[in-house]
């Protein structure tokens, strides 16, 4: 047809050399660079959320403390949780998805590199918009669960809740777009021979996480949209004075909120399942059981939401159902724990820092899991609900669980990311400081909870008997900060003068260790063919055998071939994802601005054409 008459496409030139400079980062579509962007920004948000935590502990360090006003304290509590969950832990997992998944499945990039860049920019803008609430002193202060009707305009008149809604809507778009991308990548981009049941466990956990995100986040998006409409367009979804059901928000929120917990922990399970076999020098015990147990956890995770609502008077039938389904989840979780123990059993265990964090994860996570089963029991929950017991539990599973696993992953894959090793001694010091400080901080919260201390309380009176353990927890929190500081120092030292890592410092089993550290832009000069679950181990061992028997070794994962010779064809950089991300963020951020055109926020209306220009230009530029 008339293809020849088309105007020349607008496109940035494809970089010839390894690109550098700010512009190359703004336009990158390389999954590894996007992974680094995700990793660095989520770590900065992790530090910000950590500062919130320290402020909370400062306030609670002694009774009758008037360091911060209750309003600001509420802000720190809300932003600590919101930052850690949506801007630190989830995106840090996504950083690993980005960097590691394509390498492990033997792909050159994700299925949609520009959509990937779009996800990152949307995430970053959402996080920055949420954090900018500090600048205008309108920190969200209603709690990370945002319970309506408390959050409707009548009871929360300020911009605080609007910042929370707008920030989370933008972050939600990034999360859903990323989940779709990784789902398609894992389903469709695996190297020849890598059947689903040969995938590394980390890729399996990523796949299950994306499914959880795809099914849970839309519910939250709708809940937030309804709240936004209540606050800006006069709807009455949550206004119980006008007949609305005051529990509607709680149902919608927790139908999202409980799967969200598994969205946070599944990637951690994946990281641990990669590290334990390598540092035990044994294949993972019970691979198929691990996969099925994870699916069971994900499936059951959608049927337990009302255990967050045991004090709402739902009645014995609902209580029984949700208590049983909650306890049922302990079964597949136990299967996973025993499979890790089975892998460790009889292995030749190598206690390098990644392994230390992995083993530490198992211990602390089991404690958190057990306290979880305890308040899955309805009468026990009535005692523990809204007490510091819950705070202890959530930190045992999210810090002792997810964060330990993420630190394990950072120490494990750092040589692959940077090409240099982290210092082993400093890594050990980081782990032991963190482990001890973690338990000093959070174990006393069990005592505080059973002694009746409510959560989210900014000032407590003297004579309650809570003083000592609160002081201990505060000291522990600062020791935790010190352990994070040790890691940061280690990272900087490694970047400046770390030992070169080589391709495969840990004798890894998966494909990412077959290629250079850091990997070349195209990852694999020749796409590898996979014939087993631990492809690199099989290859290395058969190579050794071949040498012993006097045959010429033959590697399937070639890394030396000239990429031009192999006709590797990489996608062009593009700035349209960034433009589209700005447009999308404007659409939501308009609700924070004072300028209106009739009933509609002006910036929102301006954002629509920006988004459309971004998407249209994105569609018409050549991808390859």
């Amino acid at each position: 047809m008339a293809t020849t008459t088309q105007a020349p496409p607008r496109v940035l030139r494809r970089p010839v050399e390894a690109p550098s400079g700010l512009w190359s980062w703004l336009t990158t579509v390389d999954h590894k660079r996007i992974g680094v962007l995700y990793g660095v920004s989520s770590f900065l948000f992790f530090l910000a959320g950590g500062i919130d935590a320290l402020l909370i502990r400062l306030q609670l360090g002694k009774p009758m403390n008037e360091l911060f006003s209750p309003d600001h304290y509420n802000g720190f509590v809300t932003m600590h949780a919101t930052t850690m969950i949506f801007m630190a832990l989830m995106p840090m997992s996504v950083a690993f998805f980005n960097y590691i998944v394509p390498l492990q499945i033997g792909a050159r990039d994700v299925a949609f590199p520009r959509l990937n860049a779009f996800s990152f920019w949307v995430f970053l803008l959402g996080g920055l918009i949420m954090s900018s609430s500090y600048l205008v002193d309108a920190i969200p202060n209603q709690g990370w669960y945002g319970y309506a009707p408390l959050t409707i305009r009548e009871y929360s008149p300020g911009l605080n809740v609007d910042f929370w809604i707008v920030g989370l809507q933008i972050l939600g778009v990034a999360t859903i777009a990323g989940a779709i991308n990784f789902f398609v990548t894992i389903i469709n981009m695996r190297a020849p021979g890598m059947s689903l049941m040969r995938m590394p466990l980390f890729c399996w956990m990523t796949l299950i996480t994306t499914v959880l995100i795809l099914l849970a986040f839309p519910v939250f998006t709708i809940a937030l949209t309804e709240l936004l409409f209540d606050r800006h367009f006069g709807t009455t979804f949550f206004d119980s004075t006008r007949g609305a059901d005051p529990l509607l928000w709680q149902h919608l929120f927790w139908i999202f909120g409980h799967p969200e917990v598994y969205i946070l922990i599944m990637p951690a399970f994946g990281i641990i399942s990669e590290i334990i076999p390598v540092f035990s020098r044994k294949p993972l015990f019970g691979y198929a059981a691990m996969v099925l147990a994870s699916m069971a956890i994900a499936f059951l995770g959608f049927g337990v939401w009302a255990h967050h609502m045991f004090t709402t008077g739902a009645g014995p039938v609902a209580y029984t159902f949700f208590a049983l389904s909650t306890m049922l989840i302990a079964v597949p979780t136990g299967v996973k724990i025993f499979n890790w123990l089975g892998t460790l059993y009889g292995g030749s265990i190598n206690l390098r820092p990644p392994m230390l964090f992995a083993v530490g994860f198992i211990g602390t996570f089991v404690i958190g899991g057990l306290s979880g089963v305890m308040h899955g029991t309805v009468p026990v929950d009535w005692q523990q609900s809204d007490s510091y017991w819950i705070v202890a539990h959530i930190h045992y599973v999210l810090f002792g669980g997810t964060m330990f696993a993420l630190f394990a992953g950072i120490h494990y894959w750092w040589p692959k990311f940077t090409g240099t090793m982290l210092n082993d001694k400093l890594g050990q010091a980081t782990f032991w400081t963190m482990l001890v400080a973690f338990h000093v901080t959070f174990f006393p919260m069990h005592f505080l909870g059973t002694a009746g201390m409510p959560r989210r309380m900014s000032i407590y009176p003297t004579g309650t008997g809570w003083d000592f353990w609160n002081l201990v927890a505060t000291v522990g929190a600062f020791a935790l900060a010190a352990s994070v500081w040790l890691f940061v120092m280690n990272a900087f030292i490694s970047l400046r003068r770390g030992e070169p890592a080589g391709n495969d410092p840990w004798d890894g089993a998966t494909l990412e260790w077959a290629i250079a550290s850091p990997p070349p832009v195209y990852n694999f000069a020749r796409i590898p063919t996979v014939s087993s679950r631990d492809p690199l181990w099989v290859e290395k061992r058969s190579e050794e055998t071949a040498v012993e028997l006097g045959f010429a070794p033959r590697r399937a994962v070639a890394v030396v071939a000239d990429p031009v010779e192999a006709r590797v064809h990489m996608p062009n950089p593009s700035f349209w994802p960034l433009v589209a991300a700005v447009g999308l963020s404007m659409i939501f951020a308009g609700f924070l601005m004072p300028w209106y055109l009739g009933a509609f926020p002006l910036i929102t209306l301006l954002g629509i054409p920006v988004l459309m220009v971004g998407i249209t230009s994105w569609s018409f530029e050549p991808a390859g």
Binding site: M1, A2, T3, T5, Q6, R108, D109, V110, A111, F112, P113, R114, A179, I180, N181, F183, V184, I187, N188, M189, M194, L214, L215, A216, P218, V219, I222, T225, E226, F229, D230, F233, G234, T235, T236, F237, D239, R242, G243, A244, D245, L248, H251, L252, Y522, R526, I527, V564, A566, R567, V568, H569, M570, P571, S619, F620, E621, P622, A623, G624
Partner: protein
């Protein structure tokens, strides 16, 4: 590098949907520059669309659940389902359903290499979508003048957010179809690029199917409860 150039030429016809963003495998012998093999054999963009639709189901599902949670709890003396004009909405539902047929005919035309059939049916599909939207506009304004609106009561809130959200989806679909129609008028769409039309069709059929659910749940069920059938 010869292959990269060949790609640019073929890529001129909406490359992102042709072989996805994912045109980065070499697979050595694969020189025709068309579809690249994927693990499942399904095109990436098609899997993306199905995944997106799965997620959309939960978006609509949450809105419908919200509606069902409040439906039947109408406050006395406030307007509600008795305003629904079932024959009128049935006609517009039929219009939307018929547009799914025309969408299929457009794709069939393209796959048979008949550009004229493609253009006609693309335009008909978009036009039927516009008729539906016009009908929804008229319906909304009628309700508005009869004091049924999103800030009147929670039934109104959930009704207008749900149907409005669906209307926004139809609007996006109409813009998409019109863009394809203009593109096919200007440049034509090669039969091997039929995926472009197929993807928009998937979206369009989904939006139609959702309307069947909305029509049954939101219009027919509450209406059936009203004694004497309303008007």
């Amino acid at each position: 590098m010869a292959r990269a150039i060949a790609h640019d030429e073929q890529g001129r016809l909406l490359p992102q949907a042709g072989h996805g963003d994912s045109d980065i495998h070499d697979h050595g012998h694969d020189d025709h520059g068309g579809e690249h093999p994927t693990s499942t054999g399904l095109n990436n963009v098609k899997v993306l669309m199905w995944t997106f639709i799965a997620s959309e189901c939960l978006l609509f599902g949450s809105l419908i659940s919200t509606y069902l949670a409040v439906e039947g709890r109408t406050i006395p003396n406030t307007p509600g389902p008795e305003l629904f004009d079932i024959p009128y909405t049935s006609v517009s539902a039929f219009v939307l359903l018929f547009s799914s047929l025309s969408m299929v005919l457009a794709l069939a035309g393209l796959q048979a290499g008949d550009q004229r059939q493609l253009r006609i049916w693309l335009f008909v599909t978009a036009a039927l979508g516009l008729v539906f939207l016009g009908g929804q506009y008229y319906e909304f304004s009628t309700f508005y003048f009869e004091e049924f609106w999103l800030d009147k009561n929670f039934l109104g809130s959930s009704f207008f957010l749900l149907t409005g959200f669906h209307g926004a989806h139809v609007t996006v679909g109409v813009i998409w179809l019109l863009a394809l129609w203009l593109y096919s008028l200007r440049y034509g769409i090669a039969p091997e690029k039929s995926l472009l039309v197929e993807i928009s069709g998937l979206y369009w059929h989904f939006v139609d199917v959702v309307w069947i659910v909305i029509f049954a749940v939101v219009y027919l069920i509450p209406y059936s409860r009203i004694e004497g059938g309303g008007h």
